[in-house]
């Protein structure tokens, strides 16, 4: 544990530090901007392929295997197909909002990657408030989703958008509280310093925090079992029902880009980011991100969807109290035993996490969903 200093002394100004990078500030900026966009597009294509193939295997079918070797070019073929489609704007739509929504949803997801370290110091901007920036920026995507839902002039879209707002508003709080646990242990808000302080991956030091963060992240980016926003069996396609062609492709991209971004954040916060033996750091980072993404695919194929009131109930009655307890325990550990080995807390925290989760799952009642009408 890197000390009990809870006060972060560095000023909360933007601190861009491309110090040892050749060519200075602008080359650094250009290189990482291009790298991030390319990286993200490639990762999204990979993610779509992985998801479809893995789901195929898990569902005892083959999955796409016709386009290119092992169906590797399937996402490319899909992209070409979807770009050539006609762009239909419904007559009842609010044209400007309908047009802007995919852009508003897509940009913040791209911006998350600005503070994610691919290896030591290799990131666009090493903000000293990195994780705060991630939280702030990632919730802007919701505005795009709501614009899509409202601007489409479709009731299914509106229902989906309302669900998304409800989910994000509820899960933002436990998400941040789970992050604060990590921040307390590492003593920094900077993404790069969080990684450098992880001699033991924080998934072991903060097992409960990891669990809660994963749940909240899944709810925030609408991954199953919290995919109520686009619940295909209920709302046909939710907020993007009325989108076609390129704009639909943007939303499709956002869905996977968000999943990738959240996987990257989880990797950075809990799985010691780029650190790892033998392999180059950036490769470790990608491997870990893909593993986290795979877990998301896994839950998607395994679990049924929860209902909207159960989603809310889970946030306020289960995830939020546990996040507060986790924060409390972490704070006590850091303040009173700053010199005790982290391995000791690994054991203590895993035991506590198990006890708390079992206790809360016994107490947690999803609630009675019926309303008298």
């Amino acid at each position: 544990m890197s000390g009990g200093e809870l006060i972060i002394n560095t000023p909360l100004a933007m601190q861009v530090t491309p110090a040892d990078w050749p060519g200075g500030y602008w080359w650094h900026w250009l290189f990482f901007t291009v790298a991030i966009i390319v990286f993200m597009l490639v990762m999204v294509i990979g993610a779509i392929y992985i998801e479809r193939r893995a789901m195929g295997k898990m569902q005892s079918r083959i999955g796409p295997n016709r386009t290119g070797p092992f169906g590797l070019l399937q996402p490319v073929a899909d992209a070409i197909k979807v770009l050539l489609k006609e762009n239909i704007v419904p007559g009842t739509a609010d044209k400007i909002v309908h047009f802007l929504a995919p852009i508003v949803a897509f940009t913040p997801v791209l911006m998350i990657f600005a503070v994610i370290p691919f290896q030591n110091g290799a990131l666009l901007a090493d903000l000293n408030i990195g994780i705060l920036y991630v939280v702030a920026v990632s919730s802007i995507a919701t505005v795009g989703v709501f614009m899509a839902g409202w601007g489409s002039g479709n009731k299914y879209s509106l229902l989906g958008a309302m669900r998304d707002i409800a989910a994000v508003v509820s899960y933002e709080i436990p998400l941040v509280l789970a992050i604060i646990g990590v921040v307390i242990v590492s003593g920094s808000l900077s993404m790069n310093e969080i990684v450098t302080s992880q001699d033991i991956p924080y998934i072991l030091v903060q097992p409960l925090g990891f669990l809660l963060f994963f749940i909240a992240a899944c709810a925030e980016i609408n991954r199953s079992p919290f995919d109520l926003t686009e619940a295909d069996s209920e709302l046909t396609a939710g907020f993007h029902t009325e989108y076609s062609g390129m704009k639909f492709a943007m939303f499709y991209l956002v869905e996977y880009a968000e999943a990738m971004a959240m996987s990257a954040v989880i990797t950075t916060l809990f799985l010691s980011g780029w650190r790892g033996p033998w392999l180059p750091p950036w490769l470790w980072f990608i491997i870990k991100t893909v593993i986290v993404f795979f877990v998301m695919v896994w839950t998607r194929t395994t679990l049924p969807r929860v209902r909207i009131d159960q989603l809310m109930g889970l946030a306020w009655k289960f995830v939020l109290p546990l996040a507060l307890i986790n924060l409390f325990i972490t704070a006590i550990e850091v303040i009173f035993w700053p010199d005790v080995s982290q391995w000791f807390f690994v054991i203590v925290n895993i035991a506590l996490a198990a006890i708390l989760v079992i206790l809360f799952s016994k107490l947690f009642k999803p609630g009675w969903g019926r309303v008298e009408v």
């Binding site: 789901m55 898990m58 569902q59 005892s60 079918r61 009731k155 299914y156 229902l159 309302m162 669900r163 199953s224 079992p225 995919d227 109520l228 619940a231 295909d232 069996s233 209920e234 709302l235 046909t236 998607r300 194929t301 395994t302 679990l303 049924p304 969807r305 929860v306 209902r307 909207i308 009131d309 159960q310 799952s361 999803p366 009675w368 969903g369 019926r370 309303v371 008298e372 009408v373």
Partner: protein
């Protein structure tokens, strides 16, 4: 001065049109749903999009020529429809069916029940948002049953297998060994499937206590089959009014008490096991002899009327036929289970959420071909 009264947000219910083209309406069912936010205030069922006038068409065909039409009613359980229709005509004409044909009919009808329940449970879980996986697992088992039927009559979905006075062709030599091999496989599969889903937290949260159909309501609406048995009505025509050779087999009628979606799922699972028991016993007992009574191609039953019903996979499936001693039925009526079971839907969904509406609708297990006829 604005008063508090004026500032209070006024909400009003809105109408959402679900269907006829919606992923979860099992065909072309349409509901005009009145929603207050997420809460279902009322639904107005609209159907008839698949109406083909089968009852009228039957008046234009010979008695044998009607059999293919019955296939097209409930295309998820065509054998049961054949069976019920043939029973009605045999009752009308006083035609005796040989032992062997009775056993073949029982085997096929029970296998059909399993196939139908595979589809019903899979579709219901799909509606619950379990993206494909439980569906595909059951689908694989259903395919095996369809392979068996293909062996029997060359068709996979619409069999046209039963004939008045027996079945169209004898069992092929490899059929009974294949069934014997299939029984333990399916039994193992059911246990495995139960292990995955019986205690699934999300499924229980979603389905337990949801869409309760009380015993009184079920009786008043004339609901039969697994839906009625899940509500605690111990009514199974195979026991209560044994037809064919069902009185020779040992099996139980699984019932549940609560009448919610979870119970309907459980009852179907248990019924699959019981059907396997019947198949197992009947495979051992199949006698030799002819597989069909010699009857004329063109039957002229004596003038009169007859009603025959069987316990179809979805409930009581009956055919009412009036004969005027001509080659075609004077009038025919089908007691189609799906339509009658749908009756209580409106009572069941009031006050639940949109997601529950879909799940409750899925748990009733309907086929639109049978609803619209």
């Amino acid at each position: 001065m604005t008063t508090t009264q004026e500032l209070t947000l006024k909400t009003e219910p809105f109408v959402l049109n679900m269907g006829p083209l919606h992923p979860s309406t099992h065909g072309v069912y349409r509901m005009r749903v009145t929603l207050d936010g997420e809460v279902v205030l009322d639904i107005e069922p609209i159907f008839g999009y698949l109406h083909r006038g089968i009852e009228k068409l039957m008046e234009e065909r010979t008695y044998t020529g009607c059999i293919p039409l019955t296939d097209r009613l409930d295309y998820a359980s065509a054998m049961s429809n054949n069976f019920s229709y043939c029973l009605a005509v045999e009752k009308l004409g006083g035609i005796k069916v040989p032992e062997r044909a009775e056993y073949i009919r029982v085997i096929t009808a029970e296998l059909q029940r399993i196939a139908n329940h595979c589809l019903a449970i899979g579709a219901m879980l799909n509606d619950a948002g379990a993206l494909g996986t439980p569906f595909f697992y059951l689908w694989r088992q259903r395919e095996k049953i369809y392979d068996l039927f293909e062996m029997l009559c060359g068709q996979r979905v619409l069999y046209n297998y039963m004939r008045i006075g027996g079945v169209s062709q004898d069992l092929p030599d490899e059929f009974l060994p294949a069934v014997k091999k299939f029984i333990p496989q399916l039994r193992h599969f059911i246990d495995e499937y139960e292990f995955f889903l019986k205690q699934n937290e999300i499924l229980i949260a979603r389905a337990k206590g949801v869409g309760i159909l009380s015993k009184e309501l079920a009786t008043n609406y004339g609901i039969s089959g697994p839906v009625a048995r899940a509500s605690g009505i111990r009514w199974d025509l195979r026991k209560n009014d044994p037809y064919s050779v069902y009185d020779r087999f040992e099996f139980d009628i699984p019932t549940r008490e609560n009448g919610d979606c979870y119970d309907r799922y459980r009852v179907r699972m248990e019924e699959m096991k019981q059907s396997l028991r019947i198949v197992e016993q009947s495979v051992k007992q199949v006698p030799g002899g002819p597989f069909r009574t010699e009857v004329n191609q063109v039957i002229r039953p004596p003038a009169g009327e007859a009603y025959a019903h069987i316990e179809g996979p979805k409930g009581e499936l009956g055919y009412y036929i009036v004969s005027d001693n001509s080659i075609a039925p004077y009038r025919s009526h089908i007691r189609s289970t799906s339509l009658i079971n749908l009756g209580a839907l409106r009572q069941m969904v009031k006050g639940w959420k949109v997601a529950d509406l879909i799940l409750i609708f899925g748990s009733i297990d309907i086929t639109m071909g049978e609803v619209d006829r």
